[in-house]
């Protein structure tokens, strides 16, 4: 499962693009390109996608520092990458939009271990409930972004990969 040098370069570029995209869209609350990129990396690289995913997480930590809030990034993307890995044969747009939308909707729920670490278990429920409007925006925006962009970007990346593999 070790990537070669060329793959490592591609993966690093994709991870850096993911981070840059997130920073560029930071002013739009909970509208982000990261979920789309995680799914794309997973369909393109399979299990090797863990490399670019964690390069991206490392970039987050390097720029924003290691703190309780980005601790969530250490595990949360796996909840998207693992289903995406098993959905790789699926080529229609709707299933990918559903996966991305569901991930956005459940983002707050998946943050519960971190809420507990920050404020204790008694604060988990109120913190999660107060974040639901953000999760709804996250879910709808993730759904729409994936519906529009996932299939064309997947086709593009697969074409680029096929071109470089051909002698």
């Amino acid at each position: 499962m070790r990537p070669d040098l060329r793959e490592l370069t591609e993966m690093s570029v994709l991870a850096a693009l993911t981070f840059a995209g997130k920073v560029a869209m930071a002013s739009l609350p909970n509208i982000e390109p990261v979920s789309l990129m995680i799914m794309l990396m997973t369909v393109i690289y399979g299990r090797k996608a863990l490399y670019p995913i964690y390069v991206y997480v490392m970039l987050e930590m390097l720029v924003y520092g290691f703190n309780l809030w980005n601790l969530v990034y250490l595990y949360i993307w796996l909840f998207l990458a693992v289903p995406a890995y098993f959905m790789r044969p699926v080529r229609q747009r709707l299933p990918w939009a559903i996966l991305s939308g569901a991930f956005g909707l459940l983002f707050g729920l998946l943050c519960i271990p971190v809420y507990a670490a920050v404020g204790g278990w008694h604060m988990v429920f109120s913190t999660w409930i107060s974040g639901i409007p953000y999760d709804l925006v996250h879910g709808v925006s993730n759904f729409l972004i994936a519906l529009v962009a996932f299939v064309p970007l997947r086709d593009l990346l697969e074409k680029l990969r096929a071109r470089r593999i051909r002698p």
Binding site: V63, Y64, G65, I98, L106, T127, I132, P133
Partner: protein, 137 residues
């Protein structure tokens, strides 16, 4: 052809399930969110600056949430983040996390607030503190 049709049906059911989950989440929010009391309230906000100097502000307001009160009063500036309002500047002092690991911590009646300022409900007599905090890491 039949398999394709079944597949399409399966994904449509998944889409309906997704919408149901969204509706349940919205329902939970409206059922359990903290209901802001109506009418005038008096609240105090203590600001602890980086040099440990303290200032106290008292407000009489009919605003429902702390974020709208502090923004209207010009005490804070902030941006919207994935976890709610992220306060960047208080009483003229900026906290820069990227370079100084510094942020404005919000306390509500002595306890670390579990919500962002924009979702912190105002009750009569509430005491808030905004403390310039440096993360050791």
């Amino acid at each position: 052809m039949a398999a394709q049709k079944t597949n399409k049906r399966r994904w449509l059911i998944a889409l309906v399930a997704l919408i149901v989950v969204a509706a349940i989440l919205a329902g939970l929010y409206f059922l359990f969110r903290a209901d802001p009391p109506e009418g005038d309230k008096t609240v105090t906000v203590k600001v602890v600056h980086a040099d440990q100097s303290e200032k106290e502000f008292t407000y009489e307001t009919d605003d429902e949430y702390l974020g709208e009160l502090l923004t209207e009063e010009g005490l804070v500036e902030g941006e919207t983040s994935e976890y709610g309002m992220y306060i960047t500047k208080v009483d003229g002092e900026q906290a820069v996390f990227e370079t100084d690991n510094a942020y404005w911590a919000l306390y509500e009646n002595g306890e670390y607030a579990s919500t962002g300022a924009d979702q912190t409900v105002l009750d009569n007599g509430d005491e808030f503190s905004l403390v310039y905090t440096k993360d050791a890491s």
